[in-house]
Symmetry: C2
Subunit: 338 residues, 2 copies
Amino acid sequence: MKLASYKDGSRDGQLVVVSRDLTMAHYATGIASKLQQVLDDWGFLAPQLQDLYDTLNNGKARHAFPFDPAQCMAPLPRAYQWADGSAYINHVELVRKARESEVPGSFYKDPLMYQGGSDDFIGPCDDVICPSEEYGIDFEAEVAVITGDVPMQSTPEQALEGIRLVMLANDVSLRNLIPNELAKGFGFFQSKPATAFSPVAVTLDELGDTWDQGRVNLTMQSTWNGRKVGMCDAGPEMTFHFGQLIAHICKTRNVRAGSIIGSGTVSNKGVEAKGKTDWPKGYSCIAEKRAIETIQDGKPSTEFMKFGDTIRIEMKGKDGELVFGAIDQKIVAAAALK
Amino acid sequence: MKLASYKDGSRDGQLVVVSRDLTMAHYATGIASKLQQVLDDWGFLAPQLQDLYDTLNNGKARHAFPFDPAQCMAPLPRAYQWADGSAYINHVELVRKARESEVPGSFYKDPLMYQGGSDDFIGPCDDVICPSEEYGIDFEAEVAVITGDVPMQSTPEQALEGIRLVMLANDVSLRNLIPNELAKGFGFFQSKPATAFSPVAVTLDELGDTWDQGRVNLTMQSTWNGRKVGMCDAGPEMTFHFGQLIAHICKTRNVRAGSIIGSGTVSNKGVEAKGKTDWPKGYSCIAEKRAIETIQDGKPSTEFMKFGDTIRIEMKGKDGELVFGAIDQKIVAAAALK
């Protein structure tokens, strides 16, 4: 099934069930008002939502209404955990190569992850509010999952069993603020503003066999200012699958229901041809494009995002239809709000 | 007023109002069932809780019952944010000096903070569950605040206005897992298991003039295996006050209601006497004691905590009575649970 949280002026929004083709929606009232409630009591509530979803897909839901992604908050408008990995090691390799540093051998066994702010997510069509273009505004197209309870010391395979929902994320990053925070070793605050998520979060069965043991074998499409810049395979090159990322966190602690785990920027290896390397699938964040330019030309030529820029992130199923709806945002100056 | 969350088998517990002297409690039923609800709607709900608190203190609450800290979850059993500072720069100086590295000049202007896991806090008397003693189990006695909404780009002074409640924290750390995570630059997961908080969280008026512009001028008392090891002044040597810590986070994002901000290990400068330095106030974490030993003797002699060890963290008001109740925990092997 597909679930969304509609804006209603409250902090958590109103849970809606969305039809498979994303055309119609229905309030989940009577079952649960908030998505966190469902995650807290999945075994009891999910089957009831599934029934409503089936009725909606059959065109028999009495109070169905046209689904509007612009009315969506993030599926979980706030969460008890947002832990973002850097699971595509190719991305790390490119960025490191551009600054002429080695990737430590441990990075291939021990996932790189950071704990993100989860108190203030934004919806798929909400503006990205930023105080300054000088911060180096970048998008990051990612896959993310929402978990149930995963006990301390679960194996990657056990952790896979704890995954409830899948969605897309735009993990907005302020690149020029990262070096200072990275040097401190304690992770990110100022360089990671509010993250946006796709209109709907979907259960694993919606992905069919494109859900492959903790990886999504579909193409992450990123469109910047109307230009398609990324058509990256999200599946095979994901070095650490979601079960491994979750197991990394729960080595010494429990992961509780409603935790969101991100994949990091989807990234594919370059292709060698006629003695040079090319990246025909493009990129899922500008920093990676700039790393490639630096490797090829000695310096980056693509600039980061400006106020007024747009970014659209989406993923189509085997049938060519959007699975999660699209993240579709504009960059807006914080000052413009005042 | 003083607020706690009683264990009732649910994820968020049941909100109770606790008398000033911590002897009696009363369910807040009819006003709010969970603390997060109150933080979401503070202006409307806090005055109602204050009325109940006054009635309870006057001995006139009809359904009051004896308060038992062992029945407490953390005041917020799970939260949308847990951001922990390292606000006592003396602690950073000692640890760095022990490993013969300099404190960067920026650390005196730019607070060191990490984003912690907030999906699974533990209560003040709950066991600290750890898979292995080899991880280097340590306590960290800290002051923490819970905020309301603090908008992006608030000043430190504006951020102070957003503080709703104060409590104590035991930010348990696994010291031997820290170097690897620190080297990666992305912050902590495995080295920071579940954090514990004091039985009650209190409003600022409960601190009277010991609440001094974002600092608490009281003594943090730490008792390890029944031996008093720390009597540290929490106030004057807090390099960054809570308003500064919050403003650091909200430079590029909003901080939303229910965010918990920690001070980091309370730490005091050594005292010079007869050509040598002594630390008469003791320590609020073992890592600091070991740093002092390393500076003095070339190597640490105090070992980290073992299974069965106990740690008690508390703070007394000017009247000599406990303000927040006591964190009082035992270290227990994860294997012992299976």
